[in-house]
């Protein structure tokens, strides 16, 4: 009996905790007047046209596609570059590898503001500013630290005899890595992939700096632009935009929930 009461109490806490999301969904289906005059009531008629309008104004399909291109390429790049170096670092204990390791850790603490101005300059030099592709190499370069740590930790647990026996069979270097070691990385790769998908999906600072063209943004940035242009007015559209931008990531979370939570556990305790 006591257990049931406490479980019930926790579920009330959980419902209150998550209620802001319900409030947003409900209000996104009202007219603007309804939101202002009757903020707590249910909508009289469901205003699906809020969503239609947002879909048109934000150029949703284009922005969605941009986001997917950026995420897929960046995650791919992070996985390849950090698995290689994470493995190499776990197998070499020299002064150089120590310095590299410290440099990698350093990038986790440095605030983005330190590199934001030079990054704008660098992308101008490469003629990439404004292009969605400009984000990909920068993400790979500046956010790999956590992935390196995860791959490094996992590599420490792979027996060295494995590479020795594959060398006997004449398989070495990169060839050996991709044939023998990389398949073993599968669980870490899955963790890295889900965590970085979330991170890149939600990042707003880098797109804000580089994607200067309003037509050519990411989902996260289009939210900010939309908000700034409609500020303090037309909450019905703003809330519909919020729901639209969050739905894909919420679906991703529901599908990958176990992997994401396990990934957070590993990432924090190994790092």
């Amino acid at each position: 009996m006591n257990k049931r009461i406490s479980a019930g109490m926790w579920w009330i806490v959980a419902l209150v905790f998550i209620s802001p999301l319900a409030i947003i969904v409900i209000n996104s289906l009202k007219t603007f007047q309804e939101i202002l005059l009757k903020p707590v009531e249910l909508p009289e008629v469901l205003q699906w046209q809020n969503y239609v309008e947002v879909y048109k104004i934000t150029n949703f399909p284009r922005v969605f596609l941009n986001t997917i291109i950026i995420i897929v390429s960046s995650v791919f790049g992070v996985v390849i570059t950090s698995s290689l170096i994470g493995y190499a670092l776990s197998r070499t204990k020299t002064k150089v590898s120590g310095i590299i390791f410290t440099l990698v850790l350093l990038s986790m603490m440095i605030p983005f503001q330190t590199i934001m101005i030079p990054i704008v300059r660098v992308t101008q030099l490469f003629g990439m500013r404004g292009s969605v592709f400009s984000l990909i190499p920068i993400y790979i370069g500046m956010s790999g630290a956590m992935a390196v740590l995860l791959y490094h930790g996992f590599s420490n647990g792979i027996p060295k005899t494995l590479e020795e026996s594959s060398r006997m069979e004449g398989c070495c270097g990169l060839n050996m890595f991709f044939r023998v070691i990389f398949p073993l990385f599968k669980p870490v790769t899955a963790t890295v992939a889900v965590l970085y998908v979330l991170q890149f999906w939600n990042d707003i600072t880098l797109p804000m700096m580089l994607l200067t063209n309003k037509e050519n943004t990411t989902i996260a940035l289009s939210q900010l632009i939309f908000y700034r242009e409609l500020v303090s007015s037309r909450w019905n559209l703003l809330l519909a935009a919020a729901v639209m931008a969050s739905t894909p990531v919420i679906i991703f979370y529901i599908l990958m929930q176990k992997k994401i939570i396990a990934g957070v556990m590993q990432g924090a305790l190994k790092g």
Partner: protein
């Protein structure tokens, strides 16, 4: 592979892709940032002059910048304490792997997957428009609180919203710590008569120090750097009262176009973060080894 004759070649081969990207898009920009901080570059014109330390000296005379440090520090302290206490409570209560607990954890983790700019304007709606509406309807004094426009309250508003977002994340790390405790140790303590709070303070808490270290580190770094949430929640207001150091440096660069000065601000800020997190890591490592 790394201890044979061609070990060096292999090491270079494996590290090169990462190091190339890291240098081009992190290390070199960082060094460029240090260089800019000694100049008066405005971001537009090609030429600029070296002004020595004057940008740094100016930082200390800039009342708005100093105010942003004061806000950031107060917020960091308040957030780190509140978020970690709440996360620990949630973790202790949901640490056993029952189906009910797994579902509860999933609910508490949910806000983490949302975009912080979206979270900002969701809460701006709830604490602004919705709150006003509720006050008109009910007349209850609870809804009279001006969460976003009162300079004495805005610090708490930002903290509450940020705790709402990340308490689930910290909770998950604490749960990992608690589940890592050898169950024999707990059982022995229970046999010896420890229960409830005693069990927590004498057994559980000391044994999850690594998780505590991680969580405090993560809380410090993320709260010192607070930025995207503020863009849509308060936009630094009222006045500049909730302007964080990050927001201040960003505006200096992209609203005032003083790139040199903004770089100096960013460098000072980086130094502060490194010192604070450095102290935290040393202190908690020492405490961990004391216990072990």
């Amino acid at each position: 592979m790394f201890n044979s004759d061609n070990s060096k070649i292999n090491f270079v081969l494996f590290s090169a892709p990462f190091l190339l990207m890291y240098s081009l898009f992190f290390l070199i920009p960082m060094i460029m940032g240090v260089w800019y901080s000694f100049t008066d570059w405005n971001g537009m014109s090609g030429n600029y002059q070296i002004v020595g330390l004057s940008n740094y000296i100016r930082c200390f005379q800039d009342a708005r910048f100093l105010q942003s440090f004061s806000f950031t520090f107060k917020y960091t302290g308040l957030y780190t304490v509140t978020a970690n206490i709440l996360a620990l409570i949630l973790a202790v209560c949901t640490s056993r792997n029952t189906r009910n607990n797994t579902a509860l954890r999933a609910v508490f983790f949910t806000p983490n997957v949302l975009n912080l700019a979206t979270v900002g304007f969701i809460w701006q709606f709830i604490l602004g428009t919705l709150n006003t509406g509720l006050y008109k309807m009910t007349g209850w004094p609870v809804f009279e609180i001006s969460w976003l426009n009162n300079k004495d309250i805005v610090l708490y508003t930002v903290t509450i919203v940020r705790v709402w977002v990340s308490v689930g994340y910290l909770m998950v790390i604490y749960i990992a710590g608690i589940q890592g405790i050898d169950s024999a140790v707990r059982e022995a303590a229970i046999v010896d008569g420890a229960d409830g709070f005693k069990l927590f303070s004498n057994i559980t808490f000391p044994l999850i120090m690594p998780a505590v270290t991680s969580c405090i580190f993560i809380s410090l770094v993320t709260s010192l750097k607070i930025f995207p949430l503020l863009l849509t929640l308060t936009n630094g207001g009222p006045g500049h009262y909730s302007e964080s150091v990050s927001l201040n440096a960003y505006r200096e660069a992209f609203e005032n176009y003083r790139f040199g000065y903004a770089s100096a601000k960013a460098m000072l800020f980086t130094a502060v973060i490194l010192v604070i997190t450095g102290i935290q890591l040393v202190v908690s490592k020492r405490r961990e080894s004391d216990i072990a």
